[in-house]
Symmetry: C2
């Protein structure tokens, strides 16, 4: 069977079948304007019989409100974002809103386009996890046009009209590194998307509303080491691109070139897959010879052996907080934007132990 050619029941069809004028049918169906109860019932019945579907586009033109919010994220297959999405969806639905999601695959041009499409669809608000980079013009324009905007997980510098919700990345790293220091580790490696600049590390004061999560997590590592009187060695900071393959290579290299490292902190959930596999394949026993801490509590963390110790983000809380802030901003455009940094949690399993572990 072929689909019928593009044609849907219009309000003219409903009006004709109900024996009323088009404007009367419109008033009866929208509830805008005077019409008798009897006519209203008749028009509603005829509309249902014909399968009339109100034109949301036309209705939005009149009400100026679409009861939809948009979410723009870089990667739908990343567990953090997909879990945050679920809790955003749940929260906004409880308030009668529907969610439209767009993924940017980490591409600034796709992000601009996603924001543009959702803005031209007149969503009532947007939650965006920005790709990052210097060009935030599209976000600034959006915020200045009065569309409610919440930034999720990653800040966009110079956007003053938007709230920001994220885990406290510096504290998350402190939790991980202090756990390792407490076990007796002194030579602690880190797998990071950020690059370490030894020259400026002492001066830089990274800010959650300016710097990327990877930069903040590296800064938290540097501070925790310094606070414990330990030296941060540039060769212990392994840079990795955003993929498990890159992280695998970076971890293998770190293990080969810095045999004194007895513990590794991996600062991202995608990178943790590669880091774990690399440690498995290295022939070094975990945790007897090398301890490992991952980021985010993946479904596989308790399945692997040794079970993986992780720093877990409060993913559900982050989603709920972002959604609630957005709904509040939609309801009150004069509301002050807020920065909300939620605490991480250390989940201790079997992949971390004392470096003097008897094995």
């Amino acid at each position: 069977m072929t689909r019928p050619a593009q044609q849907s029941v219009t309000i003219v069809d409903v009006a004709k079948a109900a024996g009323v004028s088009k404007s009367t049918a419109g008033r009866a169906l929208t509830g805008a304007g005077e019409v008798s109860a009897r006519t209203r019932e008749k028009v509603a019945r005829v509309a249902a019989e014909l399968g009339y579907r109100p034109n949301g586009v036309a209705r939005s033109m009149i009400t100026g409100n679409t009861e939809t919010v948009g979410v723009v994220i870089p990667d739908m297959s990343n567990r953090f974002f997909s879990a945050a999405l679920q809790s955003i969806a749940r929260t906004i639905r409880q308030h009668g809103y529907e969610l439209l999601v767009s993924s940017t695959e980490g591409e600034p041009t796709l992000e601009r386009r996603s924001v543009e499409v959702l803005a031209t669809k007149r969503v009532d608000g947007l939650i965006v996890a920005p790709v990052g980079g210097a060009d935030t013009h599209h976000l600034r324009q959006l915020a200045e046009s009065g569309t409610a905007l919440v930034l999720l997980d990653r800040p966009a510098p110079k956007i003053t009209g938007a709230s920001f919700v994220s885990v406290n990345n510096i504290e998350a790293s402190r939790l991980a590194v202090n756990h390792l220091i407490g076990l007796g580790h002194r030579h602690i490696g880190i797998i990071s998307e950020a690059r370490y600049d030894a020259a400026s590390a002492g001066d830089a004061v990274p800010a959650p509303t300016v710097d990327r999560p990877s930069t903040l997590r590296l800064a938290g590592y540097v501070r925790a080491m310094a606070d414990a009187g330990l030296t941060v060695r540039p060769e212990h900071v392994a840079h990795s691109a955003y993929s498990s393959t890159a992280s695998y290579a970076a971890t293998r290299r770190l293990l080969q070139t810095t045999p004194r490292v007895t513990a590794i902190y991996c600062t991202d959930n995608v990178l943790s897959v590669g880091a774990f596999a690399a440690l498995q394949d290295s022939g070094r026993r975990c945790p007897q010879e090398v301890s490992l801490i991952g980021f985010d509590d993946h479904e596989w963390a308790p399945l692997v052996r040794p079970r993986l110790t992780v720093v877990a983000q409060p993913t559900e809380d982050i989603g709920v907080t972002a959604a609630e802030d957005l709904l509040a901003a939609i309801a009150d455009p004069t509301r002050e934007p807020a920065t909300r940094l939620l605490p991480a949690r250390l989940i201790t399993r079997d992949s971390t132990a004392s470096p003097d572990h008897p094995g």
Copy 2:
């Protein structure tokens, strides 16, 4: 800083600043109707300076085309759906379309609402992975109204105007079960969302365009066993709800109550997490005492020990095929809908071995 009250630059503002009438500004910006090149340039420049954003809602009213397609899926955190989404997004973007996604969390009422919202936003087409159940009225109505519709992964009976794209679930199960039979297994358990009805198993001829994936995967197991002359024992079919916790319990129970089972085939990626954990915790050695095959090639499958053998869906192909079919249906509403069942692939790792394995 507070956000400014909801107000955006309108075409009236642009017309005033450019010193032309509103209708001239409209013609200059949309390209519809006559206007001098000099005026067009001036209006475009002024519009850019003011940050004028064309009203997509109003434009859609005129063109009848929104260059957006919607995708409705039951679970964004399911790896199969998030991976299919990525390839759908990539494909439709190559054709100038943008993607809006909505998740139903497996709830029929949320599915109806998602479809309704996307339809009233006048998306040009929809890809839906239906929750299932008897009520497919909203999908039938959509297909009959002429909106291009492709069903993904799960069929919706009685919808004749839509294409259907899925893995060949019966063949996927045959691959898994025949692999186990080839290794010498005779007592093969299965973890399934579907329930086994021994009385009607011989008669039932499950159809990919009618039955759910779980029903088809169970049917493929039954057929492969029968074809090899092996008896399907009802106690070897362990029912599990759609969660890794339920699957954990079902697998533990299966291992305890049917000690003769030397191999287990788990028919879903969420269930595979629980099945693997249950086998680990049971004290039975894998694969020496019990072999295990999972469904879908999860990121953790090669990380766990033993590495997990799986039946992998061609997730990316499924997404591309669904997207291309939808685009073709949008371009030609008289196009015949098609059923596309793509082949699965067995990835043999270390969790399957002969039951006579020396151990």
